[in-house]
Assembly symmetry: none
Homo-oligomer: 201 residues x 4
């Protein structure tokens, strides 16, 4: 007789969930299979019914993060810019500000939603470096375009600027977002104004 709810897919999901929590909290090496399975209410051999190894489940979590991350990126790019703000002279700054705000708010919103995956995929995982490099590239391209358009200063190095923004995102995510100190929107707002206007009065 099958225990209610003890079907394979659920067990697998519970393992993933438990693993995400543990990896996020303690990192890869400090996390033991024994802890994961006991959190999931299973035993060690059961783990190997669903995952080939400790590494495998970790990688699956990283991929999960990456897939969702890419999806988020696509959504954010598909979102049409507000057409009212296009073309008007005085709104050039506001347009930039608005687009950047939406993208950052979207990113922070995403990162803040699944904290464990973010911790793993953005900070712990081995692929996080590659992912961040891609993110940096995207920012860089965006910034370079804006520099070409004359929106951004010509005497600033857009690669450095993109790297700066990436670091800023990382740090705010870690210290303010994942700790719940500030909501995504506030962070986005502050970052946008800081990066566009600077701090000088």
């Amino acid at each position: 007789m099958r225990k209610k709810g003890s079907n394979g897919q659920e067990s697998r999901a519970r393992l993933l969930e438990a693993a995400a929590q543990e990896f996020a909290r303690s990192g890869y090496h400090e996390t033991k299979i024994s802890t994961i399975v006991s959190r999931a209410g299973l035993t060690q051999p059961s783990f190997y019914l669903y995952f080939q190894s400790k590494e495998a489940i970790f990688e699956e979590l990283m991929e999960l993060f990456e897939i969702q991350f890419k999806e988020m990126g696509r959504h954010s790019r598909e979102e049409p810019d507000d057409p009212d703000n296009v073309g008007q002279e005085g709104n050039r700054r506001e347009a930039s500000e608005g687009q950047m705000y939406r993208e950052l708010a979207g990113l922070f919103g995403f990162l803040g939603k699944n904290q464990d995956l973010t911790q793993i995929g953005f900070f712990t995982g081995t692929q996080s470096a590659a992912l961040k490099r891609r993110l940096m590239s995207a920012i860089h391209s965006d910034f370079a375009a804006k520099q070409q358009n004359g929106h951004f200063r010509h005497d600033a190095d857009m690669e450095i600027a993109a790297e700066c923004l990436l670091g800023t995102i990382e740090c705010l995510t870690r210290e303010q977002l994942l700790t719940g100190k500030r909501p995504p929107e506030e962070l986005a707002q502050e970052v946008v104004r800081l990066y566009l206007l600077g701090l000088m009065a």
Copy 2:
């Protein structure tokens, strides 16, 4: 005639050096004592002549970084500001810029000098969080003062700004400085202008 390197202090130094490299490259858990000692041209028991445990040598390296870091901070604070630039109206921005540049250039210079220790003490070690929090606090205080003086915008959140700058420093250190892509001075220069003036044309 003494065999070359058969000197206790030298062996200890070689172990520290090797450990720094390994810890920096592979992190705490992936680093094995066996690797450290073989890099240092010794056998495992010799390790325990000089350090009580793997943890102990790691902590010693973290402390080493912290001590040097504090020292660097003290030096940078003792350096007198250029007196010519004080008090003149039009130079307010240049004064701020100059001070911030010197501090950042000093910091980047320090971090870039001993790369292994920086990797350990700034990115890997358990105390790195505390150290960064202290650094963030210092930046925050500095920014808040400048906001009070009217140098900085009143509608910006100085805590967030400080956090942003810290993240920027982290990321540039990791991606540009430790990889040798850019020199400390260039990074400092770009960061200062970005944070003071923003990106808008």
Copy 3:
């Protein structure tokens, strides 16, 4: 079909048994986990399924001995004295003799039954000193009472006498009982007559 002995409780028992033998034969330090597990037909990691450490299994054996020892003490105290021998003048000596004989025979019987545990708990273990001190105290109290009643000489020091008897018990256990040279009853009989009557003709 379950492989013979592939039952957790049995494995645990085999480990305890093997450990008792080894500790008894060779003492704590000379006993290696590797010997215990190989005697039990297991490998080293299996040991740690059942016991936290070498110290832990040793302590468990000591406790086992102590528990059984206390139980034996309780039984022996609850056993009613032979009512026929009570109250009659000429039987005072016989009464004392009988009681002492039963207690000693019970003690020797117990110690002779599980030789390994006795070796560990009575001779090897760290708690053996405390246990013996308690035993000595009990003997001392008993002797003191008999001295008060006028059964025992007033010019003898009951503390010393108790200590003497304890030493006697120890030595006979080690040399005669655990080696199988003499049965518990004979030892008890001889000791009783020696301690009550002395050796003089």
Copy 4:
């Protein structure tokens, strides 16, 4: 230039002394060469100038004890019995008592003198069993002779009695003598009366 008093014989003696203390306090396995040499104010290699191994120094200490022990035995046997007490009827008991008292007092006196060696040679060492067996044999012979002479009861087993006395000696030495609770003479006196007269009033 030779440090004053740092000649070989003295160093050797200091090592023996330190080793005796450590072995007596902590037993063979818990005692480390490093502790011995540091107590003796030397370094580890120096140890091997004087002794071949840890085992060797331990054996030397055991032998030292044995030699002194044998010497003590010889002295005690050579001591002439008090001639006044020979041959008189009523003094048979007193003669036995006196001889036994002198021997026990001598033994306790010896054992109480060098506590560390006693601990090692009488309780810890591997040869202690043999030594005690010899001691037991001697007592046994003595008792058997007395039984032949009609001094001791014929219905007592002299082997057991000897074993009992040995245990008594051991225990009193450990608990009363080495702890300083009672002087040798008192112990001897009590033991003699106990073993000759028994406890019965």
